[in-house]
């Protein structure tokens, strides 16, 4: 019987500093992952935490981690060649096939760009399978901007709005993501989906704004963050009503998401 709590050691292949508080770690890993899934990363003697896959390629996966507490701080202390313990991948994924041949909108807040990055790249690499991609990515300020290279690339191929909460900088607009939603030409789309990922408050208000723009609830997809201690449906922490976010999530259609009462 497989031990679902057992992490395995993986080698860190490279570390890229995105911002002062966010680094991207490339880790040797052959596991098949789907867009939106996450791993439990751990450091012995410190603990475990769920982290989304922010990039993947042959023989590796990437994690973009924000330093906020004990484990994440521990990971920040690691360098190329060091060992990171992992188990996964866990959780469901974005329904990619359902997104194909339609228009697609991404609205992300801060580190929320990380869990959708592989999905965006999926359509970046195959522009022919998607009618159009609109992207609104909000950041606190210019120092908090992640994936600078990607944003440059995305701007070339997609309708991309990168925005800072209340400051200005070259190449960035100003204002919360919600303020830019009305720019999206929903009326011109015959079929579309909207992916919203970010802090809980941001997701809440973005969804409201979308609905105000006559977007049908069933077109909205969100990814939840909840406290997780196991990621395999045992510890109970992520449970909302009869739903376990680690099992049935983290990706939810808004029709379901709005029903979940913490």
């Amino acid at each position: 019987m497989k031990n679902i709590m057992m992490p395995e050691p993986h080698e860190i292949l490279s570390v890229l500093k995105e911002t002062q508080a966010e680094y991207t770690f490339r880790v040797a890993c052959d596991a098949e992952t789907q867009h939106g899934q996450f791993f439990m990363l751990s450091i012995p003697k410190i603990g475990e935490a769920p982290i989304s896959v922010s990039g993947k390629g042959p023989g590796y996966v990437e994690f973009t981690i924000r330093k906020v507490g004990r484990l994440t701080e521990g990971v920040f202390g690691l360098k190329t060649g060091d060992t990171l313990f992992m188990r996964g991948p866990y959780g469901n994924a974005f329904p990619v096939e359902q997104f194909e041949n339609k228009n697609l909108v991404f609205i992300t807040g801060g580190t929320g760009l990380a869990p959708v990055r592989t999905l965006i790249n999926h359509f970046y690499d195959r522009p022919e399978i998607c009618k159009s991609v609109h992207l609104i990515s909000g950041f606190k300020d210019v120092d908090a901007v992640l994936f600078t290279d990607d944003i440059r690339r995305f701007k070339e191929k997609f309708h991309m709005t990168a925005t800072l909460d209340n400051t200005t900088a070259p190449g960035f607009e100003t204002g919360l993501v919600t303020e830019h939603i009305k720019k999206i030409p929903f009326a011109s789309f015959d079929d579309f989906n909207v992916v919203v990922v970010g802090p809980p408050v941001m997701m809440h208000f973005a969804a409201r704004e979308l609905i105000a723009n006559r977007v049908d609830e069933s077109k909205i997809w969100v990814s939840f963050e909840r406290k997780m201690s196991c990621a395999v449906g045992k510890c109970g922490h992520c449970k909302i009503n009869e739903t376990y976010v680690c099992l049935e999530g983290p990706v939810f259609n808004y029709v379901k998401a709005k029903e979940l009462l913490d």
């Binding site: 497989k2 050691p9 410190i46 809440h204 201690s229 109970g236 009503n241 009869e242 979940l260």
Partner: protein
């Protein structure tokens, strides 16, 4: 064992005697006369204590084996005489040297009953009499007597006779059970093949426990003096036991048996340098637990979480759980706080043995055949000490279940999501913001609360080795939903209480289906709560509110919407605080 195997056993015993007789056959043996002298001497030694310094022997009277002082003409002699008289028999002159409870007369009485059974066309009465006499008398002492004969005998002859006598009685009992089965309707017929009950003294049960301990660790509710919630009270909690006297069966245990198969803290992984090593199971023995029906039903809830949820099993739980066998303690009628009948957890079939405590004696019902040898005469001879007075014997006993409680509750019937929202919004949850202190004690005592945290431990600052454990948690702790930076998805004790209550009587059932709710109605949480919050009252309240108009109006905006949680820093409490008051591992974690 069935009648056939008893028969084969008897034949084997007979072979041994044949072998002896063959040896003293006058045509082969050099001096058959000497053999006769040997037998006479052996007779005197075994039955008359001739030549034995302490004067001890196998005295062939039931009274000797069933009276405390091992003397003749005691109670057994009285009752046997009454049995004989009840069918019109009295001792005649020829047997004047013998008391009625002598083995020869008891066996002859059985022969008489057999003959009557054969003659009387309506034999059922006679068959029952045979069976009763066997159970109440012959089997009650002859096995101990024949064991003594074998001990004192020097010749294979008397050892052989003793063997055959004992083997025949047990064979006879099996035959009678077979014949009688269709005669008795009701209780008897509910027993499946291999299900037998035994009545035994605590001393005998202790010897069985000792023997069982070779294969099982045995757990039962025990008394821990002055360790209760208030320092003057005792704590009743599960622990390993070594004798029946340790078992607290007259009151409910403060804690459920959960901690045996789901320990309060459990090491899962050891880290050494760059390796993660699965913590091996600590003991290969089985786990035998004395538990009540509600708690036995509780383990199924944990099974659903640990073995089923997510489609994969948890190895640490599974490897312990696989070893668990239950000794169901018959429940005497429930306590003030329990409501098992409402939760439909008052009955269970999931047990290997059932036990009724009857003053100094126990009646044990053996449901699982694997346990039968421990109670069988043959096996018990190997481990019961020689002074035992009463061997395990057949007794009619079918475990009874509680069918009514003082407390009854109607379960809330939440029909749809709209109603769930309404229930979630009820004002009364807010009452707990004031009352509940979020200590988590209610979860600690609950047999079905399954949540845990993981914690990593370092042995010392310089060591590169450490371990990852899991530790009981509770959704009532204010840190339960807390993520980095201190934000929480449920922020108040009232919200936690709503979450817990709905999980216990709604969510779990919705997820796993069937009729089963997570709460088994043991009432322990009510007893434990330092603020006297009654979970029972909460369920009642929920049902009332649902039935009243409060929950039949259309709800407006739900403030608790899950993606609208707003960050709010909180003080981090030590998670083990409420749960770990009795946690023996607590110091290690610090």
């Amino acid at each position: 064992m069935n009648a056939r195997s008893f028969y084969l056993d008897l034949m084997e015993r007979r072979e041994a005697l044949y072998h002896y007789l063959d040896q003293i056959d006058e045509r082969k043996a050099p001096d058959p006369e000497a053999a006769i002298t040997d037998l006479a001497a052996d007779y005197a030694k075994i039955f008359l204590a001739a030549g034995i310094s302490q004067g001890s022997a196998a005295f062939p009277f039931e009274s000797v084996y069933t009276s405390p002082d091992r003397i003749i003409m005691q109670d057994a002699w009285e009752t046997v005489r009454k049995r004989y008289e009840s069918v019109g028999l009295i001792r005649n002159g020829e047997a004047s040297g013998l008391f009625e409870d002598h083995i020869a007369l008891e066996l002859e009485f059985m022969a008489f009953l057999c003959e009557e059974s054969r003659r009387d066309p309506d034999c059922s009465d006679w068959l029952i009499k045979q069976r009763e006499f066997l159970r109440d008398h012959l089997l009650n002492w002859v096995p101990a007597f024949t064991a003594d004969v074998k001990r004192y005998a020097d010749t294979a002859f008397y050892k052989g006779i003793a063997n055959i006598t004992e083997g025949f009685l047990r064979f006879d009992r099996e035959i009678l059970e077979g014949i009688n089965a269709p005669l008795d309707e009701g209780i008897e017929n509910q027993k499946e093949v291999g299900e037998t009950a035994f009545s035994l003294t605590t001393a005998n049960m202790d010897q069985i426990l000792q023997e069982l301990k070779k294969e099982y660790r045995i757990f039962a509710p025990k008394r821990y003096e002055k360790r209760g919630a208030k320092s003057s009270t005792d704590l009743i909690r599960y622990g390993e036991i070594h004798s029946v006297r340790e078992i607290v069966h007259e009151i409910q245990s403060d804690f459920s048996p959960k901690e045996i198969y789901y320990p309060i803290t459990q090491t899962m992984i050891r880290f050494q340098e760059n390796q993660s090593i699965e913590e091996p199971a600590s003991d290969s023995r089985g786990v035998l637990i004395f538990a009540r029906p509600c708690d036995i039903n509780g383990i199924r809830r944990l099974d659903n979480i640990f073995l089923e949820n997510g489609g994969h099993g948890d190895i640490y739980y599974e490897r312990l759980r696989d070893k668990v066998r239950f000794v169901m303690m018959e429940c005497g009628g429930g306590w003030d706080d329990c409501f098992c009948v409402s939760m439909e957890t008052n009955k269970t079939e999931d047990y290997s043995l059932a036990v009724r405590f009857d003053q100094e004696n126990l009646i044990v019902f053996v449901k699982d055949q694997a346990f039968e040898p421990y109670f069988s005469e043959e096996k018990s001879k190997e481990f019961m000490d020689e002074n035992r007075k009463v061997a395990p014997e057949n007794a009619d006993f079918m475990p009874q279940f509680v069918t009514t409680n003082k407390k009854k509750v109607r379960l809330p019937k939440i029909q749809n999501h709209q109603q769930l929202k309404e229930v979630s919004d009820l004002e009364f949850w807010k009452e707990f913001d004031e009352q509940c202190i979020g200590c988590g004690g209610c979860s600690a005592v609950c047999g079905t609360c399954s949540c845990f945290d993981t914690v990593d431990i370092i042995y010392d600052e310089t060591s590169s080795d450490g371990e990852r454990r899991r530790v009981w948690s509770s959704c009532m702790l204010d840190t339960y939903t807390m993520t980095a930076g201190g934000s929480r998805f449920r922020k108040t004790p009232g919200a936690n209480m709503r979450f817990k209550a709905l999980h216990k009587v709604y969510d779990y059932n919705l997820r796993f289906g069937g009729d089963e709710h997570m709460c088994v109605g043991c009432g322990r949480c009510d007893k434990r709560c330092p603020k006297e919050i009654s979970f029972f009252d909460i369920i009642c309240r929920l049902s009332e509110e649902l039935e009243s108009t409060a929950c039949n109006t259309t709800a407006t905006e739900v403030p608790g919407n899950s993606i609208a949680a707003v960050d709010e820093p909180a003080i981090r409490a030590d998670i083990s605080e409420g749960l770990g008051a009795e946690n023996p591992n607590r110091k290690v974690e610090r």
